[in-house]
Amino acid sequence: MRFIGMVRYTLNETLRKGTLLFYAAIGFIIVLFFAFGLSRSPSSPNAIMIFGRQFTESPSESISIIDFFLVMLHRQASSSMLLFGVFGVAGLIPSLLEKGTIEIFLSKPLNRSLLLFARSLGATLAIAMNIIGFTFAVWLVIGLRLGDWNWGFLWSGFLSAYSFACFFSIITFIGLTTRSTGISVMLAFMFALISTGLELRETGLYLLWENGLYHRMLDVLYYCTPQLEGMSRSATAMIAALPISTFPTQFQVAPFVFSLASSIGWYGLSAWYFSRQDF
């Protein structure tokens, strides 16, 4: 009851701020755009029309234009979610810790770890509602308009929400330690960038310095933090197998498992840190 009360409150607070409602409105406009403008080309079964303009180009013969379109949409939606989601919810932890607020919360009979977890869950649910809602609406419109019911795309919405939940474990820790919304947003973005770099470390960061210790350090960093890019690429494979060597051709569970483990670790660290703090 207390835990659910805190989750409900956080959801309410997030929605009242309006940022996520604004994102939802933009998502709705995009869905309307597809609903009214998207159709199959009458001249070619492998082409789609967007407001009368025909698109036939797919990077490979192995992937249809619709699947390629859905993959691109998923990649855009998941990276936008990380970008805009951070703006929407990164301030939730610092705002909880504000003087005059935290004292009231801590005087209530709710364990500090549960309080923190409820706050994080509320923030994640707010983002999840946005991304799952958007994915479902786009999936429905594309299914109805083009007759292509790509279940992998539908699932990618849930996987993106899962990915954000893992990401929020880092945001929580940053928010707790810095107690500043601005710094939290900045560091969260930096982490998202680093995460992409770490995913491509073998073809990128490794080449910067041929040192074994440096490589191992990158590996440790990769496995100790949520693998945002890895999860996004793996979710892509559920929609269609991209003919790109760095993208998996099949769904891989490993990034999700490692991200879950590291997120539990980060939440645990945050809970430990929070329990030792004086306010």
């Binding site: 009851m1 207390r2 659910i4 009360g5 805190m6 409900r8 409150y9 309410n12 607070e13 009242r16 504000e98 003087k99 005059g100 607020t101 935290i102 004292e103 009231i104 919360f105 801590l106 005087s107 209530k108 009979p109 709710l110 364990n111 030792r276 004086d278 306010f279």
Partner: protein, 311 residues
């Protein structure tokens, strides 16, 4: 069973990232509060009053010492279920209405939804915010927010209430109303732990008072015990006595002071007082009356803090 019992509570803060400086906020505080009392905690700014309350509620961790509240360890969940707290300069979520605020904090206190709705109405009525129930609190004045804070602290029907500057920003009528609420709560058997700068307020409603200075309890007792500490007597003499004579006598009473045709004579006991009166009488000065001067809590407080600072 004591309402609050603290033993050797100390708190040392480490300040600065590089040059780590230690600041002792509390130094071995021992304190006990009887159930059903209004207990006032006084002290100058930075004395450690808020830190002490926060330690009791588990918001700040003590460096040393321990304590119990209603037989539950300080800061424990079972203890918090029986406590209400109004912090100083509290901030409620501005997007909520008065009703929603109480609903949320009621839920957080574990109260079931059905009884909560009845409770909210009666509490808003009690603190005079019934007509503001559905108004967003961003439109509330400081005084209204204090009243709402008090209602929030009472939402779980606590056995003990910790109030940090409850009348801060409240107008005189509102202050009187809050005082009446506190007296009424005391009549219901609740214990009230009051942190306040309003000494007259503490004096008028507290059963016991403790004065905290530089992290140490320097005085504890009933208001009467504290205000009696500096015992003085006002000796009115015949107003026709010349000022020259009064001044001459005053030189023989070095600790006394003259106020027109009266002497304020400090004396720890009757013998000491009578010795001074004997000096007056030896000059054939007629005594009109002798009354005990009781200082106000504010005067006693200032005197005590000054003497502590001088030491």
């Amino acid at each position: 069973m004591k309402a609050v019992s603290l033993t050797g509570i100390s708190k040392t803060y480490t300040i600065g990232a590089l040059a780590r400086r230690k600041v002792e906020a509390l130094k071995g505080v021992d304190l006990s509060v009887e159930p059903g009392q209004i207990f006032g905690l006084l002290g100058p700014n930075g004395a450690g009053k808020t830190t002490l309350v926060k330690i009791i509620l588990g918001i700040v961790h003590p460096s040393q010492g321990n304590g119990v509240v209603l037989n539950h360890p300080i800061g424990s969940t079972t203890m918090l279920e029986r406590c209400g707290y109004l912090p100083e300069n509290h901030r409620f979520p501005l997007f909520l209405t008065a009703r929603d605020t109480l609903l949320f904090f009621g839920r957080l206190s574990g109260i079931n939804e059905l009884s909560l709705k009845h409770k909210i109405d009666s509490l808003l009525d009690l603190v005079g915010l019934k007509d503001w129930k559905r108004v967003r609190i961003k439109r509330f004045s400081k005084g209204m927010l204090q009243r709402l804070g008090l209602a929030q602290a009472l939402i779980n029907d606590p056995q003990i209430l910790f109030l940090d500057e409850p009348t801060d920003g409240v107008d005189p009528i509102g202050r009187k109303e809050i005082r009446d609420i506190l007296i009424d709560l005391k009549k219901q058997g609740k214990t009230i732990f009051l942190n306040s700068h309003m000494l007259s307020e503490v004096e008028s409603i507290s059963d016991r008072v403790a004065i905290l200075n530089k992290g140490e309890i320097v005085k504890i007792g009933t208001v009467e015990e504290i205000t009696r500490a500096g015992k003085e007597f006002l000796v009115h003499v015949d107003p026709t006595v010349s000022i020259e004579l009064l001044e001459r006598v005053l030189q023989e009473l070095p600790s006394a002071r003259r106020e027109n045709s009266s002497f304020v004579i400090p004396a720890n006991d009757l013998k000491e007082l009578n010795r001074s009166i004997d000096i007056l009488r030896s000059h054939r000065i007629m005594i009109v009356s002798v009354t005990s001067v009781r200082s106000t809590l504010e005067e006693s407080f200032i005197q005590l803090i000054k003497s502590e600072t001088a030491q």
